[in-house]
Assembly symmetry: C2
């Protein structure tokens, strides 16, 4: 029996607790908690979808399996705008593999933009963090027949997120730039 | 060992498949699928949050337990607006019990409105369907020291959703009225 890569990743996420420290998901959750607490934005990570096989009343547990996501991991509201994004980490120093993003997720990104919201990726590459807008991501895929996005493209077309203290990954400042770019 | 009411409800939802027919959640999911297909709105139900106890690689399953939600069930984007709501059914013919809504959910509704989004309940009562805006819900709670909202208040202050054919519960028309009311 074999599972798709993203399902395997979900398993790993729950089993390798050692990695929990300062990974991208941790940083984004920390930022979101800060934004909620300071009433700056309301952005949450969606729960991982689980298919339920059965429930056990005797000990209050369920049995199930990980299901594939059709949307992105995070969504919410900021300054009246609908925000919808995913966090992606890559160990490659030269490029971000597009196999990390599924076809239905690209369709979703496109839909969010068409309906007037902001959709993007937060990419961790070379120990740097970038917000890459859905518009630029989709344009890159349209223009290039490539299996990955070169680091230089992300550096040039993305909005760099510098690490600060509180929150460490203050990505909402990059969203501000994104909003300004669209409105001007 | 005992569980909070809402957790019990989650169990029941997954175990009483017979009830699946035309319940409110089914109707809203059907409407959302229609809106996505027709590119009218992008609104999804959030997965039920599951706490993971362990994962079993040999058969691809997980063991876990239902967790409590801190937000509402549905969110997404419509006409550029952030939409965030919950679906509530009651068997009472005279009132909607406020025990159905948790304190942190009321706080969330208030937050969504403050940030410029639209938050509301879709209430099924007396075989009728109403959209009750977060504003009116919060005002009622503020003005009244009651444990339930009378049916007459829902009838007078809510926006009635008449059943149609495709989708059956075309609730987005009630959202249109909500948007118009705020903008005028």
């Amino acid at each position: 029996m074999s599972y798709p890569n993203n399902i395997k990743k979900e398993y790993n996420k729950y089993t390798t607790f050692g990695k929990r420290g300062m990974d991208l998901e941790y940083l984004i959750n920390e930022a979101n908690e800060y934004y909620i607490h300071e009433d700056i934005a309301l952005i949450y990570k969606k729960p991982t979808p689980i298919g339920i096989k059965n429930t056990d009343y005797t000990n209050g547990t369920i049995k199930g399996f990980f299901k594939e996501k059709s949307t992105l991991d995070y969504n919410g509201i900021y300054k009246g705008y609908y925000i919808d994004f995913d966090a992606k980490e890559t160990n490659s120093k030269t490029s971000f593999p597009l196999s990390n993003i599924h076809e239905h997720q690209l369709k979703h990104i496109n839909g969010v933009i068409r309906h007037g919201g902001f959709s993007f990726l937060i990419i961790s590459i070379n120990e740097e963090y970038y917000l890459l807008s859905g518009e630029k991501l989709l344009q890159f895929i349209k223009d290039n027949n490539r299996k990955s996005i070169p680091y230089n493209f992300i550096k040039d077309s993305g909005i760099k997120i510098d690490l600060t203290i509180k929150p460490v990954l203050d990505y909402i400042k990059a969203v501000d730039i994104l909003i300004k770019e669209r409105i001007k």
